[in-house]
Amino acid sequence: MSRKPFVRPVSKTGWWLKHPRYMRYMSREVTCVFIGAFALLMLCTVERLSKGQAAYDSFIAALQGPLSIFGMLLVLIFALHNATSWFNVTPKALPVQIGEEFLAGKYIIGAHYAVWIVASLVVLFFAGVL
């Protein structure tokens, strides 16, 4: 009896459309594009700041338009999605064993959210918002 195993083709580009779990994964991965774009914007802001107060003020003024605000909101949504989707899987990567039991995942996830809130408050404090 001859063997002739059949290898099914795999789509290099469309595989992630085949199942909702792959789409969820891609939605997490695509957040890096938006966060990367925002990081570039931050670098531009620093560059403008180095050119003096006037350059900085006009740059900030240019970012007040509705399109810019919409872009920022989009970045915020993707940043929140990135943070929450990663926080929610932290118990997998960082299990905490106490004796024979494992600490429930909600405490590990909760600790991440708590640190996130504290860090945000510190940033808002130094930014003069609080």
């Binding site: 290898v7 795999v10 992630w16 899987v89």
Partner: protein, 250 residues
């Protein structure tokens, strides 16, 4: 005695005969089944009453042997664990994705078996003991550290779910790395360095991008995705120890 409820079940099964077919094709069957049956029972009914040429693997019929993994409506499942009552309409049955098809629902598992061998999934004792010296003892807490990962039945559903393995067949894959982790976590084991050479590599754990599909389809709740992330954390700590601590090189 209560009469078991019966219903006609339609199956659409991927067939492939390497001696006749150039590529696989679907074949439809309609077979009378008990409502309490699983997909494997339906396949057995087809084989017994309609088509004795249908080829598929199975053994225990109780989610222990790991032989009867198939794609059922596109989802990797143990066919002995897929209850007919959970399916409406035509049930599409295909061989496990990401493996070559040998015949009908039988896949070629050689790649997985080779990878499994490479990670040395067995105890490599820290210190050799003679029988007279007694057993290798372990506390319940030390057992719990790896127990979950020892539940793997090598059914390969995680490989069928993993898009990384589909795109990059060199990837060692979820179950093999999880089993390496299982032994690395064992207090009696001293083989971690040997296994790290295989798993802490680009074809090993660093090929994983944490899709998490492996854990979603695992029928034994092993959580391979968790194991792989833990291997990444441990391997990263190794790197820091090796490169940043004085006298840390291996």
């Amino acid at each position: 005695m209560t009469q078991l409820k019966k219903r006609m079940v339609q199956l659409e099964v991927l067939r492939y005969d390497p001696e006749k077919d150039s590529e696989p094709h679907f074949q439809k069957y309609e077979v009378e089944c008990n409502e309490e049956w699983v997909v494997l029972d339906a396949l057995n009914a087809v084989k017994e009453s309609l088509d004795p040429t249908l080829a598929y693997r199975w053994s225990c019929h109780m989610a222990v042997c790991g032989s009867c993994g198939m794609m059922i409506n596109g989802e990797p499942k143990l066919s002995c664990h897929a209850f007919l009552r959970n399916y409406d309409g035509v049930i599409r049955v295909e061989p496990l994705a990401n493996f070559p098809i040998e015949r009908d629902l039988v896949t070629v598992a050689d790649d997985f078996i080779d990878k499994l061998k490479r990670v040395k999934p067995y105890l490599i004792p820290k210190e050799k003991k003679t029988i007279a010296e007694g057993e290798y003892k372990q506390t319940p807490a030390q057992l719990m550290k790896y127990r979950q990962f020892s539940m793997c039945i090598n059914c390969m559903l995680c490989y069928a779910a993993c898009p990384e393995y589909a795109l990059q067949p060199k990837f060692l894959g979820p179950a093999a790395i999880t089993l390496a982790h299982r032994y690395n976590q064992d207090s009696r084991d001293g083989g971690r360095d040997e296994r790290q050479e295989v798993i802490a590599t680009n074809e090993g754990v660093w090929e994983c991008s944490f899709v998490g599909a492996c854990s979603e389809v695992c029928p034994k709740a092993v959580d391979p995705a968790g194991a792989l992330q833990q291997v990444k954390v441990a391997s990263t700590l190794d790197w820091f120890k090796e490169h940043l601590l004085p006298g840390g090189s291996k």
